[in-house]
């Protein structure tokens, strides 16, 4: 517990409970009664859940939550009528009538009966919505990527710490066994001294264009002003609200962050247990090679994987290597390493274990696996890589200050102005 911002000194992280190492030893579920729950969940012990911007992935995570008896979904906010109605309908099918709908989430947040909020908007809203929810005194499960800029990453962690909220990012691979096993191989030294970690990322892209303007729908159908939220104004075009906002600079964190929110996060956990970040970022045509102070490389690349599934990672040490991905399969360099694996049934896209960890965190107030501090760290790495790629030159980063060294342009790209009344 400290006031210090998300900067990276070993001393600070050794004193925080948010780091990940302890998670690996026994990723166990605490029984309900030890969480203050007694058998069948009493109404007073239920976690009243609300949703904010629930679309495709959000619906899946909501399903996982609705499978847990401890949750009761009571309200949905979405600037798009069709989406909020669909979620209301689904929730009422399970819980009965009474799931409230809101166009503007600011009208929902003052409700004292909401304990936690699932945020699954587009990227542009993730930090701002999380901050608003935290300031309303509720816990948060927010889909990735969690921030649009380096500054948002820091503000996210600052606010969660300031308001004492539980935050679980939707980087669910932190709770999936094959990824845990691969990380454990690194932490236990079984790969020897690590030399390179590889993260499966998508090729970065930057599009500053606007789609042609179209007549705005009614505010009830789609509140365009609210959809834009903290991002700069531009003319309405229905393609944006139908999901085709990816790739546009104002709405999207760039290709590296898309999967890097998962895979760079995994790599930084495996490599340095979230305690620091690389100091050098050298762009490649489709990614970036980052280097830690001790020489360890973090390679963000799109191609050249073994076919073990999306969001693959590969860890290479002086004594061996391991690669794994969303299929749950693992490939390793030696029979000795292979012999250590168990049978893993949960695929990388599954949020089941991650949701259980969120429940445990809410009840015990122990930081969740993907707490704001660890995701801020890995997101800053992704943003730094993306900035290096945009500038087309290597960048040196001071992890203690989260500042690029001797590169004013790069430093000016660490934040973006936010449209009023939104501020972090």
């Amino acid at each position: 517990m400290s006031h210090q911002r998300v900067t990276y000194t070993r001393r600070r992280f050794l004193s925080t409970a948010a780091k990940g190492s302890a998670l690996l030893a026994v990723p166990m579920i605490v029984p309900a009664r030890a969480l203050g729950l007694d058998g069948a969940v009493a109404p007073s012990e239920r976690i009243a859940l609300a949703g904010l911007g629930i679309g495709g992935r959000g619906n899946y995570v909501l399903d996982c939550m609705m499978d847990e008896p401890i949750f009761q979904f009571i309200a949905i906010a979405d600037p798009q009528k069709s989406r909020r109605e669909a979620v209301q309908q689904k929730a009422e099918k399970k819980y009965g009538p009474g799931v409230a709908m809101y166009r503007d989430f600011r009208e929902m947040l003052p409700r004292q009966d909401i304990d936690a909020v699932l945020i699954a908007t587009g990227d542009r809203w993730h930090t701002m919505a999380s901050i608003c929810v935290a300031k309303a005194g509720k816990d948060i499960y927010c889909e990735k990527p969690c921030s649009m800029t380096i500054e948002e990453s820091q503000a996210l962690a600052d606010t969660m710490r300031r308001y004492g909220r539980i935050y679980q990012a939707g980087t669910q691979r932190r709770s999936v066994a094959n990824f845990l096993f691969a990380t454990e191989l690194c932490h236990s030294g079984k790969l020897g001294k690590l030399t390179t970690v590889h993260a499966n990322t998508l090729a970065p892209a930057t599009n500053h264009d606007w789609l042609p303007g179209e007549p705005e729908p009614t505010m009830d159908e789609c509140d365009w002003n609210l959809w834009l939220g903290p991002t700069p104004w531009r003319p309405y075009n229905q393609q944006y609200v139908q999901g085709r906002w990816r790739g546009f600079f104002d709405f999207h964190g760039g290709g590296i962050l898309e999967w890097g929110a998962h895979t760079v996060d995994q790599c930084n956990w495996a490599a340095v247990n979230d305690q620091t970040m690389p100091v050098l970022y050298e762009p490649t045509p489709t990614g970036c090679v980052a280097t830690y102070e001790n020489g360890l490389k973090l390679v963000m690349r799109e191609e050249g994987w073994m076919g073990l599934g999306t969001c693959s990672v590969r860890y290479e040490g002086e004594d061996g290597w391991v690669e794994t991905g969303d299929t749950g399969r693992l490939e390793m360099s030696s029979s000795q390493l292979r012999s250590e694996q168990r049978s893993y049934s949960e695929v990388g896209t599954s949020a089941v274990s991650h949701v259980k960890n969120f429940i445990e965190a809410i009840k015990t107030r122990k930081p969740a696996h993907s707490n704001a501090e660890v995701v801020a760290t890995s997101h800053i790495i992704c943003h730094a890589a993306y900035i290096a790629w945009q500038l087309g030159r290597p960048l040196k980063l001071d992890p203690a200050k989260v500042e690029f060294i001797n590169d004013a342009e790069a430093n000016r790209m660490r934040s973006r102005a936010l449209r009023d009344p939104w501020r972090i």
Binding site: S2, P31, G164, W233, W305, G307, Q336, S343, A417, L418
Partner: protein, 653 residues
């Protein structure tokens, strides 16, 4: 002769003319605008007929490259309904202090949303000179403006801002929540700057204010973070607060606040709390660096309160020593709420005596208890459990039998793998067969000598049903290695269509490049076209997706193009080139533009490569993209080729 500056100026003029010609086109030409130098960006802002889009993009670019020369043009847009944020975007990025002067001045002239935005920018820049201005706005009738002022003061975070916020907290202001929020941010900065007394005073002011509970909780969280090891009394008070939300602050802080004094006080408090709270604090204490004495946890594991007892078992399962074994073993075999935690603990804990204790219990256990113990023994790979598991593979009790089979997957060695194969390949579709298949899969991947396993599996294929042959072939694909490859290739040469079908699928999905030569051989020689095509696709997949040296990948591309007879396969082969970005491969892709069947795929590859080498080879990219454009490849690549061509020409100049 035209010099470079003149050319550049001419290019800019052309761009601006083109941009002005069509609004629709203007909205897709951001790259050209954002390539302009700062002076031209400012000129664009001042251009009477420039569109909103052009000005917006110029502002965004000025955020990165703008200087004080851009300030007036940006300030002029602060009152614009659509462009005010873009102007702030530009201004916030410019480090010159003249921006702060301009923003302060603008804040006194603007109104409504635009004024709010400017206050936000003042806060963003942490302009300490703005404290007086913001102080005046805190009581403004416009709540949005007052809220922005509170936020800005919080970001400024110095002693002067703190004094303003503290005074405001004591007043009956409608926006006390925003003022408190600003105060929390301000207090954090004071604490970080070493001004702990000022921080504590500001937190105290928030606590004393008439404010929502969750904000008070935040203030207490801040106080605890400021006090650190000196926060014992505040911490204990929260843990004893009747309100659950305040107790939860204590739980969180109990994990984080350092010092043995705090640790001792928390342990002392533990027994005085109600059972539910004891359980939660017990879990928190176990996460502290100094942990809990094992004896205390053991005692709590015998508590009359189920919640405490179960929490203690969880702690023992995470951090217990040999003295915890009886409790953990009892909890594991009883189907109670902590059984899963106890089992996980027994699988993962590392101290002497666990294996022997498990074997001892296993010898005496029956039915479901025995099944649990086999699960633990398997996970721990207790060699001494092997004979017991083997014996139980035929037990009458199904749970015991199935658990024993599954455990065999973790325990069996090469010599006895036939035991599992026999059951996995049994004719009847039973739970036992399914368990054996799972165990065989685990064993095959676990046993160190993968080639020897592969020989065993390959040797068993002949004469089996297609379903079982497929099972073994897929398993061979999972373990890979030379012998596994040999076995699968042999099956791929089979006369049995079912086997051949399964084997070629496995080969096509081989996890490494070992299978390339075999796939190529099949692609060239197999009697049936469908398998030749599948094998070639597998070969192309390796070249396209897996890690290979560039020269090897290029050689595989050439081979694939030679062997491929169908345009579909040639088109996919062309994708390989985009993995080898170089002038040579770009030109190679371009060389296929003349083939009507391949020009689209060739264009795609050439464009992808061009984007990667344009910085270093603009002239070559210009030539190549000129050919792609003229070839009329269609689709998105045609548009990208035009953009790259323009960009390459500009770079070449």
């Amino acid at each position: 002769m035209l010099n470079k500056a003149t050319l550049c100026g001419a290019l800019i003029t052309c761009i601006l003319i083109a941009l002005a010609a069509s609004e629709a086109k203007a909205q897709s030409n951001s790259k050209e605008i954002m390539a302009l130098p700062p002076g031209q960006l400012v000129a664009l802002l001042q251009k009477a007929d420039a569109t909103e889009f052009e000005k917006a993009k110029a502002c965004q670019r000025l955020a990165v490259v703008g200087t004080r020369d851009a300030i007036p043009a940006l300030v002029a847009l602060l009152g614009d309904e659509h462009l005010n944020l873009y102007a702030r975007f530009g201004l916030e990025g410019i480090p010159d202090p003249a921006v702060d002067d301009a923003l302060r001045e603008a804040a006194t002239k603007l109104q409504g949303r635009q004024q709010v935005g400017v206050i936000d920018s003042i806060g963003q820049r942490r302009d300490a000179k703005a404290v007086d201005l913001l102080k005046g706005l805190l009581s403004n009738a416009d709540p949005a403006l007052a809220s922005a002022a509170a936020g800005a003061l919080g970001r400024i975070g110095n002693s002067e801002a703190a004094a303003v916020l503290k005074a405001a907290l004591a007043q009956p202001m409608p926006l006390r929540g925003d003022i408190a929020d600003g105060s929390l941010a301000c207090a954090e900065q004071l604490a970080s700057a070493g001004k702990k007394d000022e921080a504590m005073a500001l937190y105290a002011a928030v606590l004393q204010a008439d404010i929502a509970k969750h904000v008070k909780i935040a203030a207490l969280t801040g106080q605890l973070a400021t006090l650190q090891a000196e926060g014992k009394d505040v911490l204990l008070a929260q843990l004893q607060n009747a309100d659950r939300d305040f107790f939860r602050i204590g739980l969180s802080a109990a994990r984080k606040l350092p010092g043995t004094e705090i640790g001792n006080a928390l342990r002392e408090l533990l027994g005085k709390l109600p059972a539910e709270r004891q359980a939660l604090l017990l879990l928190a204490l176990a996460d502290r660096q100094e942990g809990l004495p094992q004896a205390q946890v053991l005692a709590l594991a015998k508590s009359d309160a189920p919640a405490v007892r179960e929490a203690a078992v969880v702690v023992l399962a995470r951090k217990g020593d040999a003295t915890a074994l009886p409790i953990l073993l009892d909890a594991a075999v009883n189907d109670g709420p902590v059984a899963v935690a106890a089992r996980d603990g027994l699988k993962n804990l590392k101290f002497d005596g666990i294996d022997a204790a498990v074997i001892s219990r296993l010898t005496e256990a029956k039915g479901s208890a025995k099944a649990v113990l086999f699960d633990i023994a398997g996970a721990r790979r207790i060699a001494a459990a092997y004979a017991l598991a083997r014996q139980s593979m035929t037990a009458a009790d199904e749970s015991e039998r199935l658990a024993a089979i599954v455990a065999m997957g973790q325990l069996v060695e090469l010599a006895d793998i036939d035991l599992l194969m026999g059951q996995a390949l049994a004719a009847a579709d039973t739970p036992q067969r399914k368990a054996a298949q799972e165990a065989l899969s685990v064993a095959a991947r676990r046993i160190a000598d993968r080639d020897a396993v592969a020989v065993k599996l390959s040797g068993a294929i002949s004469g089996l049903t297609v379903e079982n042959q497929t099972l073994l072939l897929e398993l061979l694909g999972r373990i890979a290695g030379p012998k596994a490859l040999e076995g699968v290739v042999a099956a791929a040469r089979s006369e049995d269509d079912g086997v051949k079908n399964a084997a070629t699928k496995v080969l096509g999905d081989w996890p490494n490049a070992e299978a390339a030569d075999s796939l190529l051989d099949l692609a060239k020689t197999d009697k049936e076209a469908k398998y030749r095509i599948r094998a070639l696709r597998g070969y192309i997949r390796i070249a396209r997706q897996l890690q290979l040296p560039d020269d090897k990948r290029l050689a595989m591309f050439r081979t694939a193009m030679e062997v491929a007879k169908r345009p579909d396969d040639q088109q996919i082969s062309l994708e390989i080139l985009s993995r080898i970005p170089s002038v040579e491969t770009m030109q190679l892709a371009v060389s296929y533009l003349g083939d009507a069947n391949l020009k689209s795929a060739a264009g795609d590859s050439a464009v992808k490569i061009a984007a990667k080498v344009i910085t270093t080879n603009p002239k070559e990219v210009s030539d190549a993209m000129d050919k792609v454009v003229k070839a009329d490849v269609g689709g998105k690549s045609a548009d990208v080729a035009k953009q790259l061509l323009d960009q390459a020409k500009a770079n070449s100049n």
